[in-house]
């Protein structure tokens, strides 16, 4: 999902013809996510990248700067920097500064724990840099159950520091769950209190989310309520992540298509390129930005990888062919289907018409069929007091 790409106020929604062209891929991604590190001082139970430990193979500062040069040459307008916690990298400011200097805007996501008054002042001094502070509850109890003890207070301190430094309109980023969806108005008030922008994104069964998705994803009724709430608030950013809700009728602002390998992709901390941030799995690995004799260099991966080429082929509607909403939702999110064991050419597990649920029930009975992201870079004693320690059992065949 292309993050926060919208035709903008006063512009007509994209014509289907253009949406079709986009799905065939572009000269370069519109929007690229770059996870700088798998290192993280939190252990959120839904972490899409199973972050925790730094990987010794992380791109070096030199490699990262060369990648930024390449993104500049490709005219990638901005990168979404995430992780892990990107500020853990000692060269975080160096890399962010270099990107901005080369005309590659930076939007970075942080848990806020390292966003001290000094860091806030440094960020404020940089042009073309946006900050997203993550919280997953409007109060400590709701948030800390997901993100860990003390994480709500830490995020609020970061917001206070940004406000005190005069950063301007930062973003408050929330992954919508069954437990915080009742707090949308409270999130809106929180954002307003900082003159911040609210950004809501969809929970995926990716990373550690594979083990928690069943208990955390919104119910069908909650999805309908969310759709109505978002339609009333076109100013709320969504990273285009709720396009499956378009099947309810009115489309939300944005491109409303799965951009994986077509308009978006992910570069992971060791330089591997995946179709989107939510499919860190060998099956969706397109290549590496490092020279390894295979697909080397980001430009070559983007333009020539067999995976990306296949994703740009017209997709089959499969089991959704007879559904009147297929043109609106295009079958939903590839990652959500993959990590719940559903067919990629069938309904999204959160299909608003409920078509995903029956298929999901059948799959649950046969866990061997459900691919699992594995523990990734989770710390061995990941988890927190509120959630208990996640148990990583590899149910599916990996790789």
């Amino acid at each position: 999902m292309p993050a926060d790409v919208s035709p903008g106020p006063g512009q007509a929604p994209l014509r289907p013809a253009l949406a079709g062209r986009l799905s065939h891929g572009l000269a370069a991604p519109i929007c690229l996510t770059w996870e700088l590190t798998y290192g993280c001082n939190l252990a959120c139970v839904h972490c899409l990248s199973s972050s925790g430990r730094r990987d010794p193979r992380e791109l070096t500062t030199g490699e990262a700067r060369r990648l930024i040069d390449e993104l500049h040459d490709l005219q990638v307008f901005y990168v979404n920097i995430g992780g892990g916690e990107p500020m853990i990298r000692p060269d975080f400011f160096d890399l962010a500064g270099y990107a901005v200097e080369r005309g590659v805007g930076v939007k970075f996501s942080t848990n806020g724990t390292m966003l001290t008054p000094t860091a806030a002042a440094r960020l404020t001094a940089m042009d073309y840099l946006d900050v997203q502070v993550s919280v997953d509850g409007a109060d400590p109890a709701t948030n800390d159950a997901i993100r860990g003890e003390g994480s709500y207070a830490a995020a609020r301190r970061a917001m206070d520091n940004l406000a005190a430094a005069g950063f301007g309109a930062f973003k408050i980023s929330i992954v919508v769950t069954r437990h915080n969806i009742g707090q949308l108005d409270a999130f809106e008030r929180l954002a307003a209190s900082y003159s911040a922008q609210l950004r809501l994104t969809r929970l995926r069964p990716s990373g550690r989310g594979a083990d928690t998705w069943s208990e955390l994803h919104p119910t069908r009724q909650q999805q309908r309520d969310l759709h109505a709430w978002l339609l009333d608030r076109p100013e709320v950013l969504t990273g285009d992540s709720f396009f499956h809700l378009s099947a309810l009728g009115a489309p939300l602002p944005g491109l409303n298509l799965c951009g994986a390998g077509r308009v978006v992709c992910l570069i992971d901390p060791i330089g591997d390129v995946y179709a989107c941030p939510f499919v860190l799995h060998e099956q969706f690995r397109a290549g590496t930005v490092r020279g390894d004799g295979g697909c080397a260099g980001f430009t070559k991966v983007w333009r020539e990888s067999a995976l990306f080429k296949s994703l740009r082929e017209p997709g089959s509607a499969g089991a959704c062919a007879s559904c009147g909403s297929y043109d609106a939702c295009r079958g939903g999110c590839m990652a959500s289907k993959f990590f719940t064991g559903l067919a990629l050419d069938g309904p999204d597990p959160e299909c608003v018409h409920g078509y995903g649920e029956a298929a999901l029930q059948a799959r649950r009975l046969d866990p061997v069929l459900v691919p699992h992201p594995g523990p990734g870079h989770s710390k061995r004693r990941a988890g927190n007091a509120a959630s208990g320690e996640p148990v990583f059992v590899t149910l599916g065949r990996l790789g």
Binding site: D4, V5, S6, P7, G8, P9, G10, Q11, L14, R15, L18, R21, L22, L26, A27, A28, I30, Q75, F77, Y78, G103, G105, D127, Y128, D130
Partner: protein, 87 residues
């Protein structure tokens, strides 16, 4: 200010345009807005606006006469989204 085809315009200095097969993507580094330019000729028109004394002159020079109205309408939209500005 409303678009006036008799005035002179230019691409906004904060805007970068990347050419694509369908036309181009314009990104405004100030308001962080991404705008789709839905035809290659529209990209050329925006990139060369500054060379003409008026939008009308640019349209006459760059756009087939049968399409001038639709390109004029597109320019008005691009003024609203600050892809172009008066000069």
């Amino acid at each position: 200010m409303a678009f006036d085809v008799g005035r002179a315009y230019e691409k906004h200095p904060n805007v970068a345009i990347r050419r694509e097969e369908f036309g181009g993507l314009a990104y405004h580094y100030g308001n962080r807005r991404l705008v789709f330019l839905k035809a290659p000729a529209l990209v050329e028109l925006v990139e060369t606006l500054a060379e003409f004394a008026s939008a009308r002159d640019a349209l006459t020079a760059r756009v087939p006469s049968g399409s001038i109205k639709s390109y004029e309408f597109a320019l008005a939209g691009l003024l609203t989204s600050e892809v172009i500005r008066a000069r």
